[in-house]
């Protein structure tokens, strides 16, 4: 059969005889190995942009109820939506936007039902912030643990929606309302109580993320967004807000997401994340060479803005201030960079964040002292270290078992 060459073949750069001829180097040895992309038009514009086949951004460690952001593969502060971490309590519901209703009732003058279109008619607002799972701490971590498995349940994206204060003014929130219950329409019918101050401050009902409609795994069509507050309270697939005069004491704020302390009390409503940071490069599974290395990582705080990140390359004996990459945003991942000249000997590298409240990221030992032996792996933010072995292999510095 005679091969007809269509314009499409040419555009797509299909490797046929024509392609091969066009790819042959003209005169001399080309600097670039492999295919010469300057000798054949490239692929046509695409309906939907795709990642380079050489850069598959994949999430390791996907369990049924959770998946993590591959922090070690990201460069800036924005997390692509499709690798934003996920944690679900009863799966991802398929919500038809036409059926979607948000009910607001309780201590309000006007109990109200809003459709998705109604939500979008209100003045919109956007903000970039991190969202982190309350339980962002490794269960078991050996030397071969990547950053995503240390603390990959944090992601930073831009969220757009309507400010909760706008909605609460609209329905006439009564002055005696001090807490509201947020309820999702997943099969867990997830519920959390949230203080009204957060609504008046900066809470959003978000219907968009990184410029597009929310993805189902992020609460489509609308979710609660509480900047800087523990992931679980940012109720997804939000269907109901009930205003009340005290917390509702749901299972997720009593049995779970509370912190037993060494002194025998348990901390409840630990909403706000304290400052944390991690070096994401070099880290396992990187192998480095002696010479200049830019140490890179992220730092964030639910209390405010990161003002300093210190880096140690000698196991925490001495520290130097890293450079913070602009923009440095409130309650968002902040990039830090630090130049280091590695001499090829064994080294231990780690980072320590400080936020504008003056809070300094603690060591694991300090956390262990207040949380006690039976801490439940919620709201933990210890300094994380990587060991650089002679030969260049970078591995996670293991911590002793928590309850040892």
């Amino acid at each position: 059969m005679a091969k007809t060459v269509t314009r499409r073949d040419l555009l797509a750069g299909a490797a046929g005889t024509i392609g091969a001829a066009a790819l042959a180097p003209v005169g001399g040895r080309a600097l670039a190995q492999g295919r010469d992309t300057t000798k054949l038009p490239g692929a046509p514009a695409s309906a939907l942009g795709a990642r380079s086949p050489h850069e598959p951004l994949v999430r390791g460690a996907v369990r049924g109820a959770a998946s993590r952001t591959p922090l070690q593969d990201l460069h800036g502060i924005i997390t692509p939506s499709d690798v934003h971490f996920e944690r679900h309590h009863a799966g991802i519901p398929a919500v038809d936007p036409a059926d979607y209703r948000l009910l607001i009732h309780g201590l309000v003058e006007r109990p109200t039902v809003l459709t998705l279109a109604d939500l979008k008619r209100f003045p919109a607002t956007s903000r970039i912030c991190f969202l982190e799972c309350s339980g962002n701490y490794p269960q078991e971590a050996g030397p071969e643990t990547k950053p995503e498995n240390v603390c990959g349940m944090t992601s930073t994206t831009e969220w757009t929606g309507v400010s909760l204060a706008t909605l609460f003014r609209e329905v006439g929130a009564r002055p005696d309302a001090t807490w509201f219950l947020a309820e999702g329409q997943d099969a867990a019918v997830m519920t959390r109580s949230v203080p009204m101050e957060k609504a008046w401050d900066d809470a959003l009902i978000a219907y968009a993320q990184n410029g597009e409609a929310l993805r189902p795994a992020q609460g489509y069509p609308a979710r609660l967004l509480l900047p800087g507050w523990e992931g679980n309270s940012n109720v997804k697939w939000l269907r109901r807000l009930e205003l009340g005069d005290r917390p509702f004491m749901t299972r997720e704020e009593t049995s779970k997401y509370t912190d037993p302390l060494a002194d025998g009390t348990a901390r409840q409503f630990s909403f706000v994340f304290d400052a944390r940071s991690i070096i994401t490069s070099p880290a396992y599974p990187d192998v480095v060479e002696p010479g200049w290395i830019e140490i890179r990582g992220i730092a964030w705080s639910g209390r405010g803005t990161i003002v300093q990140v210190d880096v140690s390359t000698d196991g925490g004996r001495t520290w130097q201030a890293a450079r913070l990459q602009e923009p440095v945003l409130r309650q968002a991942h902040t990039r830090f960079r630090h130049l280091w000249r590695w001499d090829g000997g064994p080294a231990e590298i780690m980072s320590r964040a400080t936020d504008d409240s003056g809070y300094v990221q603690p060591t694991r030992a300090a956390l262990r002292a207040t949380r006690g032996r039976r801490a439940r792996r919620y709201h933990l933010n210890p300094i994380t270290a990587w060991r650089v072995e002679r030969g260049g292999r970078v591995v996670y510095r293991e911590e002793p078992p928590w309850d040892a």
């Binding site: 309590h89 009863a90 009910l103 607001i104 009732h105 006007r110 109990p111 109200t112 039902v113 809003l114 459709t115 109604d118 008619r121 209100f122 003045p123 706008t166 003014r169 609209e170 219950l181 309820e183 099969a187 867990a188 019918v189 519920t191 203080p195 269907r239 109901r240 009930e242 009340g244 005290r246 509702f248 004491m249 749901t250 299972r251 009593t254 049995s255 509370t258 037993p260 302390l261 060494a262 002194d263 025998g264 009390t265 348990a266 901390r267 409840q268 409503f269 630990s270 909403f271 706000v272 006690g372 032996r373 039976r374 439940r376 309850d403």
Partner: protein, 209 residues
């Protein structure tokens, strides 16, 4: 706010001097305004936008399933450990264990009066070198009403939201009786359930924000 800016591509094509001068550019480039916006240009937010519609009593009742510590939200109905036992065996034991000892899902039973809560100095002294006890309804839940709320909304996890009030009261009674917190013949209803005193009632302290 309120300033007109030329469209990006045109702005990029314009000589810097033209932009700085705010002078006339090509047609459609608009005005590079240096003036303050006119007073009153942006209306203040109204008190109400008038979007959405009033919720009906029936709509609220259909979704308003939460149960609070004071008992608000509890429906009519009743149950005992005896009425709950067969329902537990049928609907729950496969995941939580025949005696509530846990399985693929959390344990529901486990209350040692001397060790409650399962952490802290008193617990460590009680435990000595013995095995740890797990966190359960018996030793870590502050409110019995939460058990009603959670079972009704989320359990059994393979068919949530299908239980009737009498069944939920019975299941709550069975779990509490197995934990030794209520008597085996205690009748739970909207009046008696909020009065149940949970062993972990006073251990929780809100975080300062």
């Amino acid at each position: 706010m309120g300033r007109l800016t030329p469209c990006r591509t045109l702005a990029a094509a314009l000589p810097v001097a033209v932009l700085l001068a705010g002078g006339a550019g090509p047609e459609g480039a608009g005005r590079v305004a240096a003036q303050e916006p006119e007073a009153g240009q942006a209306p203040a937010s109204p008190e109400r936008f008038g979007f959405g519609r009033a919720a009906t009593e029936a709509e609220i009742a259909a979704w308003n399933i939460d149960v609070r510590p004071d008992g608000e939200g509890l429906p009519a109905g009743e149950g005992t450990a005896a009425s709950g036992a067969p329902i537990y065996a049928r609907e729950c034991a496969s995941c939580h264990g025949a005696a509530g000892e846990g399985g693929v899902a959390d344990p529901l039973v486990g209350y040692e009066p001397e060790s409650t809560p399962p952490f802290g100095p008193r617990y460590e002294a009680w435990r000595g070198a013995g095995d740890d006890v797990r966190f359960t309804v018996g030793n870590y839940w502050p409110y019995a009403t939460t058990l009603y709320d959670y079972i009704l909304r989320a359990m059994p996890s393979d068919a949530p939201g299908t239980l009737q009030p009498d069944e939920v009261y019975g299941l709550v009674a069975w779990i509490l009786a197995e934990n030794g917190i209520i008597a085996r013949d205690a009748v739970l209803d909207a009046a008696t359930l909020p009065a149940v005193e949970m062993p972990a009632r006073d251990i929780f302290v809100p975080q300062e924000r």
